[in-house]
Symmetry: C2
C-alpha cells in the first residue's frame, strides 16, 4: 500500500524550487505525492495546520511535517 | 544518468526523523542518495557549506540546498 506525501506550498519562488527539485524526487512507486497550493485552496490550511505545518513549503509524509527552507508562514496565507 | 541527493545531518533527533521519513522517500532509481554525518566526518563540512547548507538536516539535490526543519546550525558542528 502506497504511503502519502503531501507537498503544501503557496506558489512562492522557494516553494517552486522545492517542488521542482525535492517533491519531484520522491519515489512515486512507494508514495502518492499530492501538491496543494494553499494560496489557491484555503480550505486545506486547517488540514496542513493539524499535520503540524507552520510554514510553506512543507512536505507531510505519513503524518509528519518537514518544513523545507522558508517561503512564508502559514498565518500569512489566511 | 542518476542525479545526486546528499543528506547532511548530525545524528540529532530531527535529523533521524528527516532521514527515516524524507531521505528514504527519494527515488533511488533516479537519484544516488548519500547520507553524510557531519559530526563524524567533519572533513565534509566545507563541502556542505559551499553547497549553501547553513543548518542540518539538509538535502542537497543537484547542487541546491533544502534545509529540513532545524536540528543544528552548521557552525555548531565545527
Amino acid at each position: 500500500m502506497s504511503k502519502t506525501a503531501t507537498f503544501y506550498h503557496a506558489g512562492c519562488s522557494v516553494c517552486i524550487a522545492a517542488e521542482n527539485n525535492l517533491a519531484t524526487a520522491i519515489d512515486t512507486s512507494r508514495y502518492n505525492v499530492e501538491s496543494v497550493h494553499l494560496g489557491n485552496d484555503q480550505s486545506r490550511i486547517a488540514e496542513a495546520e493539524s499535520a503540524g505545518v507552520k510554514s510553506v513549503p512543507a512536505l507531510v509524509i505519513d503524518g509528519e511535517a518537514f518544513h523545507i527552507n522558508f517561503g512564508a508562514s502559514l498565518s500569512d496565507l489566511k
